[in-house]
C-alpha cells in the first residue's frame, strides 16, 4: 500500500523541513519513501511544494502524483497547483489561520488547525509548520509522532538548533488539536506515540 502526501505553502512556512521530517520518520520506521520538493528561487514568499510517497514495499509511485491520498496546506496561495492532483475523498489538513478558501476536493475529509495562531501562542511563530505536521500525523497515523520528533531533531540545521525544543512543543501542540486517527492511513491502523 502506498500513501501520498502533497505539501504546499509559501516560502518561509517550513514546508520543506516538514515534508522532509515526515519522509525521514517513515524511513526510520522501516518504510520506503519518495520525496520530491518543488520550489523556485528566493528564500521567502514564493511557491514551496513537496510530494511525499510512503509505502510498505518498493514504490511504484512516480515523481508527480495525480491521485494523491492526502494534503498538508500551510497557505492557500499555491493550493491550485496541488488540488487537481488529489483523489476524491482525500484527507486534507489545513492551516486555518491562513487557509480560508474552499478545499474544492470531492468528499474530502478536511481537518482545520489554526497552526499559525497556535505557534504564535507558544511563542515560536516559525514553528507553525511543525504544529500542522503534528496534527497531520495524529489524524492519519502515517508515522508515529515520536518518529517525527526524532526526524525533526536530525534535520534541524546547525544554525537553528536553538529551536529544537520549541519545535517539539509545536509538534505535540498540533497533535492535541485534532482527533487521533480520525482518518487512518494504514488499513490496520497505527498507534500514535
Amino acid at each position: 500500500m502506498e500513501r501520498e502526501v502533497m505539501f504546499t505553502g509559501v516560502g518561509g512556512q517550513g514546508v520543506q523541513i516538514a515534508s522532509k521530517a515526515l519522509a525521514t520518520a517513515a524511513i526510520v520506521e522501516g518504510r520506503q519513501v519518495l520525496l520530491v520538493p518543488r520550489y523556485g528561487g528566493g528564500m521567502r514568499g514564493g511557491m514551496t511544494n513537496a510530494e511525499v510517497t510512503i509505502g510498505d514495499g518498493p514504490l511504484r509511485a512516480l515523481p508527480v502524483a495525480t491521485a494523491a491520498w492526502s494534503a498538508y496546506a500551510m497557505d492557500p496561495s499555491y493550493w491550485s497547483t496541488i488540488q487537481p492532483n488529489l483523489r476524491p475523498g482525500a484527507v486534507v489538513v489545513v492551516n486555518s489561520s491562513l487557509f480560508t478558501v474552499p478545499v474544492g476536493v470531492h468528499d474530502a475529509s478536511v481537518f482545520e488547525v489554526a497552526a499559525s495562531d497556535v505557534a504564535t501562542d507558544l511563542g515560536s511563530p516559525m514553528s507553525a509548520g511543525f504544529v500542522l505536521l503534528g496534527a497531520f500525523v495524529a489524524v492519519t497515523g502515517l508515522v508515529a509522532v515520536d518518529s517525527v520528533i526524532e526526524a525533526m531533531q536530525q534535520l534541524v540545521p546547525s544554525y537553528r538548533v536553538q529551536h529544537v525544543q520549541a519545535n517539539e512543543r509545536a509538534i505535540r501542540a498540533g497533535v492535541a488539536e485534532v482527533p487521533a486517527l480520525a482518518a487512518p492511513a494504514w488499513a490496520e491502523g497505527a498507534e500514535i506515540g
Partner: protein, 259 residues
C-alpha cells in the same frame, strides 16, 4: 496655527493627499523576506530618478538575485541579463542611447563573484552609467551561500562555521578596486540599516546619477543591505548584525569623488 476640533467626528473622511508608493513603482507587492534591505535601497534609487526628472529617460539592467523583483515591479524600461554581465550589457546600451540614464543593479554574488571582470573593465573604460551593488554578503536567492564579499566569521550554507581565511580566503572590497580606476568618477559605499545611513546613502546615489548625466565617467554606489534570512539572525537583529559584520569590515563613505 489652526486647531482641529477633536471632540467630534470630522465632516469629511480623511483622504490620501500624498501617495507613499513612488510613481516609478508599478506595485509595492514584493515577495522578499521580512527585514530585507533591498526594498529600502531600491526606494532610494527610484526617488532619486524622479527627483532628478529622469523618469522617462531611464533604463535598468538587472542581474539575477532576489533584487530582480525590484526590476519587475518598477516602471522602468528594463532588461534582465546574465549573471555578472550587467556592466557589459550597460556598455552596449549607453553607447547606443547616450542620453539615457542607465543603471545596473546587481547583488554581491552577481557583481563581485561572477562579474568582477565586467564591472572592473566598465569602470576602467569610464562607461557613463551608474552601477549599483546591493551587498548583503550572501547569494540570497539560491539559499544563502558564500560570495566574494562574505566577511570573515560570517556563517553561510557553504561556510557553516563562519568564513575562515584559511579555508575560504578573504572578502573583496570591490568599491576600493573600482575607486582606483581612472575611469571611475564616483565610488561610494552606503548602507540602509539605520535612518541616518539611509539618508546618507540617498545622497550618494543622487551624486552618482548627477555625475553620470554630466558625463563625468563611471559612477558606482555599493549599498550594504540586510539579509536576516541569509545571515541566520532574527529579523529585528538584521540592522545591528550589518553594522557589526559588513560595516565593520568595509567601512562607509565616498571612496572617490570629484573635488
Amino acid at each position: 496655527m489652526t486647531t482641529i476640533d477633536t471632540t467630534s467626528v470630522p465632516d469629511q473622511p480623511s483622504r490620501q493627499v500624498v501617495g507613499f508608493k513612488p510613481d516609478l513603482l508599478q506595485s509595492g507587492d514584493h515577495e522578499l523576506c521580512p527585514g530585507c534591505g533591498h526594498p529600502v535601497a531600491w526606494r532610494l534609487v527610484l526617488d532619486v530618478i524622479a527627483e532628478l526628472e529622469l523618469s522617462n529617460r531611464s533604463i535598468l539592467i538587472a542581474g539575477h538575485g532576489c533584487y530582480t523583483q525590484m526590476m519587475k515591479l518598477s516602471d522602468l524600461d528594463s532588461l534582465q541579463c546574465l549573471h555578472g554581465r550587467a556592466p557589459a550589457v550597460a556598455t552596449g546600451v549607453k553607447r547606443m542611447v547616450p542620453d539615457a540614464a542607465v543603471f545596473t543593479l546587481q547583488g554581491d554574488g552577481d557583481m563581485v563573484s561572477e562579474g568582477l571582470h565586467e564591472v572592473l573593465h566598465a569602470a576602467a573604460r569610464g562607461e557613463r552609467v551608474t552601477a549599483l551593488l546591493f551587498n548583503n554578503g550572501v547569494f540570497g536567492d539560491t539559499g544563502g551561500h558564500l560570495t566574494a564579499t562574505t566577511v570573515i566569521g560570517q556563517r553561510t550554507k557553504t561556510s557553516l562555521e563562519g568564513r575562515e581565511a584559511e579555508a575560504h580566503g578573504y572578502p573583496i572590497d570591490v568599491s576600493r578596486l573600482i575607486a582606483q580606476m581612472e575611469g571611475t568618477a564616483y565610488a561610494a559605499r552606503g548602507a540602509v540599516n539605520t535612518p541616518g545611513m539611509v539618508a546618507r546613502t540617498k545622497r550618494m546615489i543622487r551624486r552618482a546619477v548627477e555625475l553620470q548625466m554630466a558625463g563625468a565617467g563611471f559612477t558606482f554606489v555599493e549599498v550594504l543591505t540586510m539579509c536576516p534570512t541569509g545571515w541566520f539572525v532574527p529579523t529585528p537583529a538584521g540592522p545591528e548584525y550589518l553594522e557589526e559584520s559588513m560595516m565593520e569590515t568595509f567601512g562607509i563613505g565616498e571612496l572617490k569623488a570629484p573635488e
